[in-house]
Symmetry: C2
Subunit: 406 residues, 2 copies
């Protein structure tokens, strides 16, 4: 018995039948004597539909009003679930962001949570009511509706779990948990039972799109235990916890990949102060997110500079850099859209040398050329030709001992 | 120049193109130097769609949660209109019920407005911003979302106009205004330029479904001038004002009809205290709305009692009264579903005798039998056979001098 926060994503509540299934799961948890706070996303596809409607009005719809519009998605599901629970004779109340006292800054469309007043929710819980909170939304200190950005319901859930000092935050989704690699391309991938916040932070940004990265940062900061699991079965999923929670100690926990990468290289860039700013300022002004940046010294006074951008931004970025190259006197701009990034992630590598060389050797054995390398404390990433992605993931998965037993 | 409240109904904002038209009308009013506060309904059909979804969950969905669900309809249109105005470079902000400080009681689904704090809206207006308020919704003193019942956006508009001391409350709809009779059955019907609150109150309840009756009561109480007009053209509509506002003085202002009537008669009811309660208590417990009630003395100790109910409630009411008749010892229960009510309405009849006899004579000349009669200070209603409805309306319209000139 305890206080359990459960978050259900859009596919788990895509229609009234699935909402009924979710209600039964919530009821079961409640019947076990737990207090339950449920956080919901919008039904799958609804948010995209609303954005589509808004962009028929204006290419860049007013951000404040877009948030008012988008907030209806989670308001709808919260009301429907509370209604379903009431119809099943479970006492349930829905709360919108402002009612749940989710106070954010006023960055419409991508607001940051400043504070969550747990008082109202606790009052309701103390009377043995189930609380259903519309995720993804909050309000700024002036009472304007805000939204937290893509996947923001995960952040809502973790933040509310933290404010309530909940025993656990369960994230229900359409996958069983976090895997050691994408099971679609690596059939020997195993479900991970326990993983650290830091590993998730490194995996989320690399394409394991199960948990929104900001929610993991929040969970880490406030030490909220997160359980990622499927809403379609009863299996245990993956626990995301702090590093010292007695985890299994593998050197490498997972192999991830990201095909949404394109590479741009500026050749023979004059090596002068201010050049990097000239290269990246117009990119960021176009809201293009740069992932890896690598600068090689070439020869006296000149350097090659390579960076990666999402594939969708490639042609735009390339055009920008062709103009930049003229301005700064770089020799040439090269682009390559057929690349991918593969990474190995694991807290274990902090204390183990040889992970990088093992990775490079494993790829070399398959004649996979490494174009770029970047590393963090617990991650090594290599950019390779896109066509080798699946092969690279499989051989790395085997090499680091992650394959499941048959 | 002044402060103008404009309310647009569901058909006026049924799609993005129509919302654009509304935005242009709002912009024009704003450009003329007026401050503008807009109240919106949901898009036509949306509220019914949401109710349909809720009743798939439960026959009687939880009322609090149904209001949370329904409130998304007006939230959507308010955001879309504000977005459209912003895209046209007009400064506009949407406000939901609670943000507009529309405080109601906690009668979910049919809440009464207790108070409107005009402060927030006035603050926004004073900076020359257009305010777009989601109609139909408010919040109770505990911050729960409430809705005002069918047509509640009219009430929102009048109440907000009253709180802001607006110069006028314009109700935009899909008809040109209030007519002297239904133009569909009386081709000589004229649009009324000015009508009193009391006449509207008598007409609204009789089937002239242009303005929600509660909003008219509100307008009368706070003396809010209301202008009912079409959002599809620039014509002046009908002004609804207090009686002493220098109106045209016709004895009868309009002829209305209501075919949604059925009649039930209990024959030879023992004339004892408590009998009427026994007859009507089970009817009201079944949420059946009784319109006219007439009791004729028959002979010593016995009476006939006749009343009308909506056609949809007829068979239910008939069954109820058959049981009641046994219990109280009435001789028989008769029912007739083929009836209609025609009424003449006008403040002028307060000071003129002979209106009733003129009405009865006019119907008699056409051999239309009058089954029931009821009167108020400014209205006379007759129940007749349904098949004579159109004829009755036309001859009364002519008899009371309402026909338009050719």
């Amino acid at each position: 018995m305890g206080l359990i926060v459960q978050k259900y994503g859009g596919t788990s509540i895509a229609n009234l039948e699935r909402i009924r299934n979710v209600a039964e799961r919530v009821a079961k948890t409640f019947d076990q004597g737990n207090d339950v706070v449920v956080i919901l996303s919008a039904m799958a596809g609804v948010t995209d539909g609303l954005i589509d409607m808004a962009t028929q009005i204006a290419e860049s719809p007013d951000k404040r009003e877009l948030d008012v519009l988008l907030a209806t998605g989670e308001q709808t599901t919260a009301a429907l679930l509370a209604m379903t629970l009431n119809a099943m004779n479970y006492p349930a109340l829905s709360l919108l962001g402002h009612q749940a006292e989710v106070v954010t800054d006023d960055t419409f469309g991508n607001a940051r949570i400043l504070d969550i007043g747990a008082r109202h929710i606790m009052d309701i819980i103390e009377n043995r009511n189930i609380v259903v909170v519309a995720g993804f939304q909050g309000c700024d200190p002036n009472g304007n509706i805000t939204t937290l950005g893509r996947g923001g319901s995960d952040t809502s859930a973790v933040a509310i779990a933290s404010a309530l000092k909940a025993d656990i935050c369960e994230i229900y989704t359409d996958v069983d948990g976090i895997y050691t690699a994408d099971p679609n391309i690596c059939e020997k991938a195993r479900k991970i039972n326990t993983i650290s916040y830091d590993e998730m932070l490194n995996m989320a940004s690399l394409g394991a799109k199960v948990l929104q990265i900001r929610s993991v940062g929040f969970a880490k900061k406030y030490n909220v235990p997160v359980h990622v699991r499927s809403s379609f079965n009863e299996e245990e999923g993956t626990m995301v916890v702090s590093e010292d929670s007695g985890m299994e100690r593998l050197i490498v926990s997972a192999v991830t990949h990201d095909k949404d990468q394109a590479r741009i290289t500026l050749k023979k860039v004059p090596d002068q102060p201010g050049v990097a700013a000239k290269i990246f300022t117009p990119i960021s002004e176009s809201s293009i997110i740069v992932d890896m940046i690598i600068q090689n010294t070439r020869e006296e006074g000149q350097t090659d500079l390579t960076f990666t951008v999402p594939k969708a931004a490639f042609s735009n970025a390339l055009e920008i850099e062709r103009n930049v190259a003229k301005e700064i006197g770089a020799e040439d701009v090269l682009g390559d859209i057929n690349i991918a990034k593969v990474s190995v992630v694991g807290v274990g590598m902090k204390n183990h040398s040889g992970v990088a060389s093992k990775m490079f050797n494993t790829l070399a054995k398959e004649n996979i050329n490494i174009m770029m390398i970047s590393t963090s404390e617990i991650r090594i990433s290599c950019v390779i030709e896109e066509k080798y992605t699946e092969l690279a993931v499989r051989v790395l998965h085997t090499a680091f001992g992650l394959d499941k037993e048959d």
